[in-house]
Amino acid sequence: MSSLRLWAGVALAALITALSVTYAVPIMEAHSRVAAELMGWAGLPVTDWQPIGVFPGLEPASGPVLAIPAFREVSQGARLLLILSIVGLLIVAQRFSLVRNLANFLIVMLVASAVANAVFDNFRLLSTTFGQIWLRQEMLVWLLLPWVMILLFVIPQPSLARGLSWVIFLQAYGFCFSALRMVFVLGVLHHTGLIFMPPLWFLLGTLSDLLFVLFFYSLAIHRSSGELWGVRDSWQSHY
């Protein structure tokens, strides 16, 4: 592996980062438009889109205005869903030892969330605030992701062009996947209030970003292994 490969990856990551910073506002606006489209398909009653300041010094992006009920306004169905979720997770924790810790952590989050919501029953989170927090986090993910992907996709791939293509594809995928997850979480919050927010944030926040990268990484490795086995030298010492 020559340093050309490394520098090509670094150059692409730097370019993506520079474009993400320069066009941060249009990117966030595009994210909001994709989210708006998905919310329309999902039938979520968005009443308005309001400007939200994502980072100081940047022009505001748009955040959806969607009713999120406080705990006392939550339907009986949502409370039943909470109980069923906890019971379901308890069963999973009992039966599948490998996922026990994850299930227990989610149960703790659900219980803590339920208790906090019950104690502070006037606690509210506006959908625009949620959109603001989500965009702040995802913007950082979009800035960091190319650098992680150089190491995961560009360096180990037998073909430099394919490695670079993976980075571009995954950056675009991450953008769309983020909008989809945000809409899903907002939809759940709209119907069930804030009870499910902590576990949803945990599972569908950066953990999902990690998971989709890992999913594609395993595919890339699967393909590379098939091509490289028996010709190790070609990628260990050349390019």
Binding site: L98, L102, W134, R136, Q137, L152, G205, L210, R232
Partner: protein, 452 residues
């Protein structure tokens, strides 16, 4: 005021966790990257067969009737000169047929000299201490009883000792029960990353390889110079690694010396194994870090690497503390007003990447090994990661509790074997006394199975 303080403390915890884990991320990525970059991995395989000192093979056994015959058969099959070979199966108060199986082999092969322990402290380190007093080899090779060494493994493991500075060598452990369960499949990926990726990379970079206590060899003189095995340690291998390092001995890694082992197939077994490793490893951290920092044999980077190695289990509680702090911030509306919450959360989330920068190492090892189907299990390793995190935190909690309050702590625990017994104490066809050795025309010893 209290809320502001809580927010402040949470940010400090998250910041510290992020910084700590980021250092490990850099280390993992660097090791993975360098494993791919180095064109010719360091080894001494061109010398195999030219350097053949007298060797003693030590195999601690406790109730090993399921596996004892396999390893003894494999050692009889070994191409190491029998004149220079001594095998000491250490039967540590077994209550099953282990003694019978060992004695069966011993009667046929004079180089197998069993040690039946009936008293003294129990556990692997204590058994090794006693066996070393009887060993006559210049080099001591260690295998766990469930391991199945290949024919040339002993030759490969002793080759690095041609360098008089080498005090120990370590081979590669390869699981043979990959399809036993999802867990064993995931652990096989971890093992690949650990040996093919990290051990080889660290050895290439001039850092000390970690002696694993099995599929490893130690120079008897080096062992003596550091005071022998530490019978108090739960991880006598890690303890020895650092005792040798501090006394100026090198530990070599031999990637081609592959030996097959059985990895845990159930989480209960894995948790206990992990718990023992965490306790022993952290004990070594406390015992050795001051001497490591002062060592005159080590470069600055070697010290840093050694410290990283010893403190690696701290990453789990750091991550959990960060998660707890971020969970707290969720329930404090004032924390939502600053742009720093999502920044902190994003970076903490990214620590999953850093902690799992090992994924890069798994990928690298998969490619080097030509592993295809198993590499698709990679995303599921996240489950293993969560499971490990909990088990490590629990083990550390117990360790520090015992340290502070002076209670007994965990004892030595033998990993449960799941290999099916075939009635003759073997799953690989090595029944007690079934192998007959012959010398071939090339002068090498071979064994064939007698079907009587």
């Amino acid at each position: 005021m209290a809320v502001t303080l809580l927010i402040g403390i949470s940010y400090v915890i998250i910041g510290f966790a992020v910084a700590f884990l980021l250092l490990y991320a850099i280390r993992h990525y660097y090791l993975g990257y360098s494993r791919l970059r180095i064109e010719h991995p360091k080894d001494s395989m061109e010398l195999v067969g030219f350097y053949m000192p007298r060797v003693t093979v030590l195999i601690p056994m406790h109730n090993e009737e399921r596996v004892a015959a396999d390893i003894l058969k494999a050692l009889v099959d070994s191409d190491y000169d029998w004149e220079k070979l001594e095998v000491i199966p250490i039967n540590d108060r077994s209550e099953d047929k282990t003694q019978e199986i060992i004695d069966g082999f011993s009667k046929r092969y004079p180089f197998i000299q069993p040690l039946h322990r009936t008293g003294g402290p129990s556990g692997k380190p204590a058994a090794l201490v006693e066996a070393c007093e009887r060993a006559t080899g210049e080099i001591l090779v260690m295998f766990d009883a469930d391991y199945v060494p290949g024919r040339a493994v002993i030759k490969m493991l002793v080759t690095p000792f041609a360098d008089p500075e080498v005090g120990a060598s370590m081979g590669r452990v390869v699981p043979h029960n990959i399809g036993g369960s999802l867990l064993s499949g995931l652990l096989s990926l971890e093992r690949s990353a650990g040996y093919q990726g990290v051990q080889q990379s660290r050895f290439n970079l001039g850092f000390t390889a970690q002696f694993g206590g099995t599929v490893g060899a130690v120079r008897a003189a080096a062992l003596e110079s550091v005071g022998g095995w530490n019978p108090q340690s739960l991880t006598e291998d890690t303890d020895l690694t650092f005792a040798l390092l501090l006394n100026g001995w090198k530990t070599a890694y031999v990637n081609r010396a592959e030996c097959y082992e059985e990895v845990p197939q159930t989480w209960a077994v894995r948790r206990r194994q992990l718990s023992r490793w965490v306790t022993g490893h952290t004990e070594c951290l406390h015992n050795y870090w001051p001497d490591l920092m002062r060592s005159r044999f080590l470069t600055r980077w070697e010290k840093v690497d050694a410290l990283f190695l010893l403190a690696m289990y701290w990453t789990a509680p750091m991550l959990v503390l960060g998660w707890v702090a971020s969970l707290l911030l969720f329930f404090i509306p004032e924390a939502h007003q600053t742009p720093w919450l999502p920044v902190a959360l994003a970076f903490l989330g990214y620590q999953l990447f850093s902690n799992q920068a090992t994924f890069l190492e798994i990928g690298v090892a998969s490619m080097l090994d030509g592993t295809r189907i198993r590499s698709l299990l990679l995303p599921l390793n996240l489950l293993n990661f969560f499971a490990n995190t909990g088990a490590i935190c629990n083990a550390l909690r117990k360790f520090y509790w015992n340290r502070v309050w002076g209670s007994g702590g965990d004892g030595w625990y033998k990993t449960h074997r799941t290999r099916g017994a075939s009635g003759d104490g073997s799953a690989f066809g090595g029944g007690a006394g079934a192998a007959v050795a012959t010398r071939s025309t090339t002068g090498l010893y071979h064994a064939r199975t007698q079907r009587d």
